[in-house]
């Protein structure tokens, strides 16, 4: 029954450790006594006998430890003891502990946050069936300008019919709905999509309630049906299942709700809340067109078919279509493909990895700093450690203690960091709703495991570096070091200096990256849009097509009445309506021909950005009319046959002639050019492009952006204007009420977000590096107090001392700066594609960073240097 004996032993060792310890001491004591007795019997004197016995006995503490090492639970005992020792040492220096934990918490927290985001967004497979086989399909535009162009409805139909590589293809396009309120609810603008009936089966998703679309729902003659997101159903309908097969009012029309999609389903993005069959929703001519590119297409590859084979299959079909319609230059010759995940997150991949790399740098700097602080402490404790070694403390044991100290620090920092990450992820998810797959971001078990890993890694890193600094073979040296007036060897601070060089180098890289991003963002925000952006308010209006038919007079009348009333509001300087304001996006382009010019060769075409505008728009937006005049407000519907072009358009298409009086042919109608207006940018990041403006009052468009300019705080006008809209049509929601500044801020949120975060990380590292410099130099000065005292006593000038100490501290900073600058050249090249209008080797940024770093380093070194030069030699010599 050996195991019973063993078990009894284990229990005994666990609960009666103190008694067992006492018995061990007694046992060893007995042995010693017997040895002494033997020595006495051999004829030694009492004292001699005792010494001889002790000599042969060896190191009693070590012997005891070795015997105890065979006991069970020893690891637990040692662990607890190390924790206790570690905690006790840390408690003795609460300031140090707090700073180190804070530094670790920031480093680990930032890392866990970015890791969580990168993993959830970029690495986790899409929550669809067999997501690896899902792809996004594009047309490769025939003029090679858009390799990833969206797809025309007619092309999709042919692809779906003729391909042999995909188990299914599905199509979808954006759709905005006005959801009417029931029983006093306000109407609401809802973002949705129109999709083919097979979108969900292609993704492999089922509604949780009700049914999916059938092929018969997806026809122009079918009844209107709609699928609803879980979120909208809960929020707007209180999660009532009775809504199934009931109708709701969308754009003033009745739609039957046939199903509710699972919570968390988000395709194509998290803001999509309604899905309706596209062949029912869109006019047949759009669905059949081979040239009107306006839909997204996704596909599921058949098993065993590669993406390259799939796209080759579709390209053959596209080529055939192209060759059959050589007269139409807008039909593509080939197809293109991307994995669906890549398509959804491709844009944010690089910024996220850059931010992750930045947080890694911050963590590394944090570790270096903690290591540095630990080195300083171990240096201060050299004598204690030497004495303990002399008394028989095993080296491994001392090393373990050191590691335990740094483990305690990084564990505390890690848990604080995990909490920090929770908060940061919440904040990020709520501020970056526009990011793809933002709904998938959660701090989960893997993130917790990652935190644990980081804790261990940081502890080992910081602990081992600091342990390296104490060489136990210099035991005697340490003990002798207390000799009065000697200063510690230089070698001892070499390690700390190299840590500082690494720290400063990393900081420089971060500062330069952040500086480049900030400069790029500044450049973006200060690029001239070509219009007034101050005190301009915009809001989107979409008139439901059922009641405001296009083409027709209803939308024209509404817009005219609305503007008439808005312009009389006190505070309104000017108001107008346009399809999309500058900075709001590309929106759409349209082909045209100049009636007075010879026809363009077959197979080519002229196209330019296309906007509907109301006559007062240019004045309201502050776009100068360079020549001619705006649209005649009295020409409406069929009489509205005037066009306006911008300067870039005039320059490109009428290089040596006067565009005024010429005619643009567009959609079977001729328009006379009556004005030339100033250039504007559709996006801050893009230069001015040719734009053709057509009269809104032609009645072809029933959606637009209302632009209101005021001479003072324009935001106050938002409510009165919305009230006017409500009075005109109580079932018409207004969306995206934004000042121009807000609108531009929203359009550059990515750049501002990345630049701001990077700047924060860089500032943090700069602070850490400064603290590191200050700490090291203070330490060196403290160590050399007596040496400096002697120098001063012997007549060294205080300025000399100051300069010497200052240079001592600045040397690692200079080294680090040099290394950092070289490394930054590489880093800047890597982020080149994220920079707008800024060279990766921007000399201003490099110079500013170098100057800032030197300034901060000098400031950090100044205090200890000054203190050294003010030493009173008498005091200094007496300190030890």
């Amino acid at each position: 029954m050996r195991w019973i004996a063993q078990l009894r032993m284990r229990i005994q060792m666990l609960f009666q450790r103190v008694q067992a310890g006492a018995r061990l001491d007694d046992e060893l004591q007995f042995h010693l006594e017997r040895q002494i007795a033997e020595n006495l019997a051999a004829g030694m004197s009492a004292e001699e006998a005792r010494y001889a016995a002790l000599r042969s006995f060896g190191n009693p503490a070590l012997l005891r430890d070795q015997a105890r090492a065979t006991w069970s639970w020893t690891w637990l005992e040692l662990l607890l003891r190390d924790v206790r020792y570690g905690a006790r040492t840390l408690k003795r220096t609460p300031g140090f502990a707090a700073i180190a934990i804070l530094v670790m918490a920031l480093g680990i927290g930032a890392n866990v946050t970015l890791f969580t985001v990168v993993r959830s967004v970029l690495l986790k497979p899409l929550p669809f069936q067999d997501p690896d086989r899902l792809v996004r399909l594009y047309e490769y535009s025939s003029d090679d300008k858009f390799p990833f162009n969206i797809v025309a409805g007619g092309v999709f139909a042919e692809w779906r019919k003729q391909n042999r590589s995909f188990s299914d293809l599905a199509l979808l396009g954006g759709a905005e709905f006005n959801l009417s309120g029931v029983s006093g609810q306000l109407p609401e603008k809802i973002h949705g999509v129109a999709c083919t009936w097979n979108l969900l089966p292609t993704l492999g998703v089922q509604p949780v309630l009700g049914r999916n679309f059938t092929e018969t729902d997806d026809r122009h003659s079918a009844n209107a049906t709609v699928l609803m997101s879980w979120g909208l159903w809960k929020r707007r309908l209180g999660g009532n299942p009775a809504i199934l097969n009931q109708t709701i009012h969308l754009d003033g029309q009745l739609y039957t709700v046939i199903g509710i999609l699972p919570a968390g389903f988000a395709y194509p993005d998290a803001s999509t809340q309604l899905w309706t069959p596209v062949y029912h929703y869109k006019p047949a001519e759009q669905m059949d067109s081979l040239a009107a590119h306006q839909f997204q297409v996704i596909g599921r590859l058949k098993p065993g078919i590669t993406a390259a084979e799939g796209v080759a299959d579709l390209s053959v079909i596209s080529r055939r279509l192209h060759d059959q319609h050589l007269d139409n230059p807008f039909i593509s010759k080939a197809a293109n493909i991307k994995p669906l995940l890549e398509d959804m997150v491709g844009d944010i991949k690089q910024p996220l990895y850059v931010l992750l790399a930045a947080t890694c740098c911050v963590l590394l700097i944090a570790c270096l700093n903690v290591a540095n602080l630990l080195v300083a402490r171990s240096a201060a404790r050299r004598k204690e450690l030497a004495i303990r070694t002399a008394l028989g403390g095993g080296r491994l044991r001392l090393l373990r203690e050191r590691l335990m100290e740094s483990l305690l620090l990084s564990a505390a920092g890690g848990f604080a960091g995990l909490l920090l990450a929770f908060g940061a992820v919440q904040w990020l998810v709520s501020t970056r709703k526009d990011m793809s797959r933002v709904e998938a971001i959660h701090v989960d078990g893997v993130a917790a495991l990652f935190t644990l890993g980081l804790i261990v890694l940081c502890a080992l890193f910081a602990g081992l570096i600091s342990s390296l600094s104490t060489k136990s073979n210099q035991l005697l040296l340490s003990l002798q070091d207390s000799a009065r007036g000697s200063s510690t060897g230089r070698a001892h601070t070499a390690l700390r200096r190299s840590l500082l060089v690494a720290e400063v180098g990393l900081t420089v890289v971060l500062l330069i990256t952040a500086g480049l991003m900030l400069k790029s963002y500044q450049g973006l925000r200060s690029s001239d849009l070509g219009c007034i952006t101050e005190n301009v308010l915009t809001m989107r209006l979409g008139l439901p097509g059922a009641r405001y038919k296009t083409p027709g007079p209803a939308p024209v009348n509404f817009f005219e009445t609305l503007l008439g009333r808005v312009r009389t509001l006190p505070g309104v300087e000017a108001a107008g309506i346009v399809e999309a304001v500058p900075g709001q996006g590309y929106w759409q382009d349209e082909d045209f021909s100049v009636v007075e010019h010879p026809p363009v060769p077959q197979g080519t075409a002229q196209y330019a950005i296309y906007r509907f505008a109301e006559p007062g728009y240019f004045a309201a937006q502050g776009i100068p009319i360079l020549r001619g005049h705006t649209f005649d407000p009295n020409r409406k519907l069929d009489q509205a046959n005037q066009a306006i072009v911008n300067a870039a358009f005039a320059k490109q298409y009428f290089p040596n002639e006067d565009p005024l009086g010429k005619h643009l042919h567009n959609e079977k109608k001729d328009y006379e050019i009556v004005g030339i207006v100033g250039d504007t940018r559709y996006s801050l990041a893009e230069g001015p492009k040719p734009i053709q403006y057509y009269p809104l009052y032609a009645g072809k468009e029933n959606a637009g952006t209302l632009v209101i300019r005021s001479n003072r705080n324009v935001e106050q006008l938002a409510l009165p204007v919305q009230r006017i809209v409500q009075e005109l049509d109580h079932d018409l929601p207004v969306s995206d009420v934004l000042t121009m500044d807000q609108l531009l801020g929203k359009s550059t949120v990515d750049q501002s977000f990345n630049a701001t975060l990077l700047a924060v990380f860089a500032a943090l590292s700069l602070l850490l590096a400064a603290v590191g410099l200050f700490g090291v130099l203070s330490y060196i000065v403290a160590q050399r107090t007596s040496e400096i005292g002697i120098r001063i006593a012997l007549g060294a000038q205080r300025e000399q001392v100051l300069r010497k100490v200052l240079l001592d501290g600045l040397r690692p900073a200079l080294f680090g700066l040099g290394i950092g600058l070289v490394a930054s050249v590489g880093a800047a090249r890597l982020i080149r594609s994220m920079l707008y209008g800024t060279q990766p080797l921007d000399p201003a940024v490099f110079a500013t960073v170098a100057a800032t770093l030197l300034l901060v380093a000098a400031a950090a070194c100044m205090v200890p240097a000054w203190r050294a030069s003010r030493l009173d030699p008498m005091q200094a010599l007496r300190t030890e």
Partner: protein, 109 residues
């Protein structure tokens, strides 16, 4: 005498078990007995003896009891357990095989 022979750990265990198979003994006596029986060739250092004894106790090969020693002072006496006895047999067989093998090689030639 030169430096005491380093005892391989397993061998020390065997020596202790063998020594204890005759009667219960305390640490000092075990060391002395091994030294005497081996004709002063084998000297067990305290640094090896006590860790070995404690390890054997943890493993259940020996058990310990406090009793009055020959000098009248309380001492820790170790005795072999049943499991320890069979372990001794096993290790003895092992040792015989091993030493015979080494013997063969050394006396060869």
């Amino acid at each position: 005498m030169g430096k005491p022979n380093d005892l391989v750990q397993g061998t020390l265990d065997l020596l202790i078990l063998k020594t204890l198979s005759l009667e219960a003994m305390h640490g000092w006596a075990i060391a002395k007995r091994i030294q005497q029986v081996s004709g002063e060739v084998l000297q067990v250092q305290q640094g090896s003896l006590y860790p070995a004894l404690h390890r054997l106790e943890q493993q259940g090969w020996v058990k310990a009891k406090w009793a009055e020693s020959e000098t009248g002072r309380q001492a820790k006496f170790y005795t072999l357990t049943t499991a320890g006895r069979s372990q001794l047999e096993k290790e003895t067989t092992n040792w015989n095989r091993l030493s015979a093998a080494i013997d063969l090689i050394v006396t060869e030639a």
